[in-house]
């Protein structure tokens, strides 16, 4: 048995994770929307053998704030389209896209992720988040309907349940492709997703077809549990440790 191995994600954010990154002369305006540059970054991450590239996303630009004018991270590629492109220019590295459960529909999102998983040959993952703020609500024509916290999460759980069912709804051997007998699929292995939630309802069949390696299991990165006798050192070399990471999100490897 080999030694336990680190898992590493490369969290992409252009021009940089630091809010001041865009003012550094090493970054270039033309690289904000430059697919060639993006491909180069993805290949660099792959050369480094990262498990995955991770991207955040938001459904509002924050235009009412001073930060909007200052330009810190107000614009970026839509994650699923971006990764569909990167899937074609890389071989191994995984892609974890952030997508919101608040203003999407499970049917659409399940399809999009299933497509990405096929295009990338099993390299897709989903960072499940919720969306907040009036600006986001207005972007979806929901004036003054910002969701309270608990309802956003309730909806997110229902959303996740439905998406996972949709992903499973075509069994691996549903498509027979029997050219001789003229039978394309085994209807018994394509399942209808029936769901009655408080926020979401579903009685649909997925159009995505059987997935490759997919079928997600969810993991929720949160509260690391260190060894009993170990505590993080107090700040050394001005380094700060966040004692607790609490992230209210799931990440799903498809």
């Amino acid at each position: 048995m080999s030694k336990r191995q680190l898992s590493l994600g490369a969290f992409f954010m252009l021009p940089g994770q630091h809010a001041g990154a865009w003012r550094d002369p090493s970054t270039k305006r033309e690289n904000l929307w430059n697919p060639g540059y993006l491909a180069e970054l993805a290949r660099t991450a792959e050369k480094g053998k990262f498990d995955l590239i991770f991207v955040a996303d938001g459904v509002s630009a924050g235009y009412t704030s001073r930060a909007f004018e200052y330009g810190a991270r107000v614009t970026q590629f839509e994650p699923l389209t971006m990764f569909s492109y990167l899937a074609a220019v890389t071989e191994k590295i995984g892609f974890v896209a952030t997508a919101s459960t608040t203003y999407n529909e499970p049917f659409n999102l399940a399809r999009q992720f299933a497509s990405l998983d096929h295009l990338s040959k099993g390299r897709a993952g989903w960072n499940v988040v919720t969306s907040t703020g009036e600006e986001a609500a207005r972007n979806f024509g929901k004036r003054d309907q910002d969701w309270p916290h608990h309802l956003r999460y309730e909806r997110a759980h229902e959303f996740l349940d439905i998406v996972k069912k949709l992903w499973d709804s075509w069994e691996d051997d549903a498509i027979l492709y029997d050219q001789e007998k003229g039978v394309f699929l085994d209807k018994r292995k394509v399942h209808r997703v029936n769901y009655e939630g408080r926020h979401l309802r579903s009685a649909v069949r997925s159009t995505s077809g059987a997935r490759r390696k997919a079928i997600p299991s969810s993991c929720r990165p949160a509260l690391p549990k260190p060894a009993e006798n170990w505590r993080p050192e107090p700040p050394k070399s001005s380094l700060r440790h966040g004692r607790r990471w609490r992230k209210r999100r799931h990440s799903i490897a498809m």
Binding site: K165, P216, G242
Partner: protein, 196 residues
Amino acid sequence: MKGRLAKYGRSPDELKIMPGVFPIIGRTEEEARAKKKYLEELVPLQVGVERLSFQLGVDLSRYDVDGPLPQLPPVEEINGNKSRFELIRNMAEREHLTIRQLIGRVITGRGHWEILGTPEQIADQLQEWFENGAADGFNVMPPVFPESLNEFVELVIPILQERGIFRKEYEGSTLREHLGLERPVNQFARQTVAQN
């Protein structure tokens, strides 16, 4: 977190904890520190005040940036990111930070774990957290692209590989294989089996 998995019939290995880390790498510690300072100075103070105000649910522009935080609302009243709110509040309390100092933290790593130093120092800290079971890995947040990504790949990853805690080549080809996660059984297929 991992302890809760058994309740759902799952093993601890089925969940990977990969917190965000914000590395500032220098050839020397001084260089890394200077880099951090340089980046912070690129962000107008006003922008930082606004961002922190948003995250804490309080208008901080009315307070002295070199003083402490005012009374914050209870977490129950935060409708945005509650965990980020708590993380920042706790950081300020624990380390007695002024508003300006807190902005430095939030602007840099957005409250994520910031690590600063030489490539060896960065690798040491990642390894320490990993080997003590505090994390299965990390989501690395390069401050400036492409430079900081290149530095991490060229300077830090080879050290982790040399120490035998990070792959030199990909063994699998899917995300699940990279993370060492099994493909779960299809919930509908399971039903079919149960019915039979």
